[in-house]
């Protein structure tokens, strides 16, 4: 899925998080918490503790927070996912239940219900849920990717790879899925396939030195003169692009 360009910078996000965790939460600084939640959503980061605290703060002070209905539901979703990460299924289920009342036919809520099953380790139930929802909406990208997540969480890397490959056959533009697939292939020591995936990522995001560095690492790992030369080429590109900010 193409994510729109984030409105806040990563630095702003880190600064807001730093402020919130040191003083902002104690002071119940609602505007900062709201801003933080939006920023995390835009950048697609996984920060369970601060998100849980920020979302709880905002949802616990709805009148003072002056939050729009849409933002409120977004905060509830973020709280649910953070709660799952922090091993608090009760909070998550409470949020999901409220969201289900608000959106009775929603597939997005269905995905959250599936994630609650995943957190409980009920893999087959989660897969069944996603398959059932996918029958009604075969093109729901998030659900297809969740199936791969279920397999990855069980350590079944080959199954996860298969799911993602099927997904990418249809949605070739999802560079983040290509990135995930590259990492899975690397874990399985299937370096040639990993390189293919990294090339797709590079095609989508040629300006990010991070990707050039990682494809160089895989080439280096493969060894042999040709691959080392390719690695050197990509490392040079990465250094060129990164203003020497990247320690690696």
């Amino acid at each position: 899925m193409a994510t729109p360009r984030p409105k806040t910078t990563l630095k702003e996000l880190e600064d807001t998080q730093e402020y919130l965790t040191s003083k902002g939460f104690d002071k119940a600084d609602l505007p900062a918490a709201k801003k933080y939640l939006k920023a995390v959503e835009e950048h697609g980061l996984r920060r369970p503790r601060p998100v849980f605290a920020a979302a709880s703060l905002v949802l616990g002070n709805l009148k003072k927070a002056k939050i729009s209905t849409q933002d409120r539901y977004a905060a509830m979703e973020q709280l649910a996912i953070a709660a799952l990460d922090l091993n608090d299924p009760d909070t998550a289920k409470a949020q999901v239940a409220q969201l289900r009342v608000a959106f009775p036919k929603s597939f997005r809520v269905g995905k959250l219900e599936g994630m609650c099953l995943e957190q409980a380790g009920e893999w087959d139930a989660a897969l069944a849920k996603y398959s059932e929802l996918l029958e009604k909406m075969p093109s729901d990208q998030r659900l297809m990717k969740r199936k791969a997540c279920v397999y990855k969480a069980q350590g079944k890397l080959t199954d996860a790879i298969n799911e993602l490959t099927v997904y990418l056959d249809t949605f070739m533009g999802d560079w983040q899925a290509w990135e995930e697939l590259a990492l899975l292939y690397t874990e399985c020591a299937m370096y040639q396939q990993a390189v293919f995936c990294w090339e797709e990522v590079l095609a989508a995001q040629p300006q990010m030195h991070y990707h050039h560095r990682r494809i160089a690492e895989v080439y280096y790992t493969m060894g042999g003169e040709d691959h080392l030369r390719a690695a050197r080429k990509y490392y040079s590109a990465a250094v060129d692009m990164s203003n020497a900010n990247d320690v690696r």
């Binding site: 969480a153 690397t186 874990e187 690492e217 895989v218 790992t221």
Partner: protein, 145 residues
């Protein structure tokens, strides 16, 4: 009981210092959603005893690819050799998996452990390097709040 499973040569006793243990556990806790690894610094006291005095955390990403591991291990080995107080070398490797209750030692981890063992063998003429896999299930249950 310490929540880790040492896998080592039979008959060799490994003593893990508090500093080393705390560092490697904290490293694993700092990156709960990732695989982490690092090396153990210490010295071979005798044929059947190895003293581990320190743990040097290495990576929390790109663990299945080689360049960063190679550089980190070289630097760690130099650091160990330069530590005052004895002839310290890399005597072991620790690893923590990102998945809960995952007690597999992946191929990549095994290769790195072999490299540490190889380095240790070169220094000591007989490998007594050990590999530690952090038991994430126990880690999760022992950390409260």
């Amino acid at each position: 009981a310490l929540p880790h499973t040492p896998s080592a040569k039979m008959g060799v006793k490994y003593t893990l210092s508090e500093k080393a243990y705390v560092k490697l556990i904290l490293h694993a806790l700092k990156f709960p959603l990732r695989n982490v690894n690092g090396v153990l610094v210490g010295r071979v006291v005798s044929d059947s005893a190895v003293e581990i005095v320190d743990a040097i955390p290495m990576l929390h990403s790109s663990l299945a690819v080689t360049p960063n591991v190679e550089i980190a291990m070289e630097q760690a080995a130099l650091h160990a050799a330069a530590t005052p107080g004895g002839d310290y070398t890399l005597v072991g490797y620790y690893h923590a998996n990102e998945l809960h209750a995952d007690d597999r030692f992946t191929k990549a981890a095994a290769k790195i452990a072999d490299a540490v063992a190889g380095g240790a063998a070169a220094c000591q003429g007989g490998s007594t390097a050990c590999a530690l896999l952090i038991d994430s299930a126990k880690l999760g249950s022992e950390v409260v709040g």
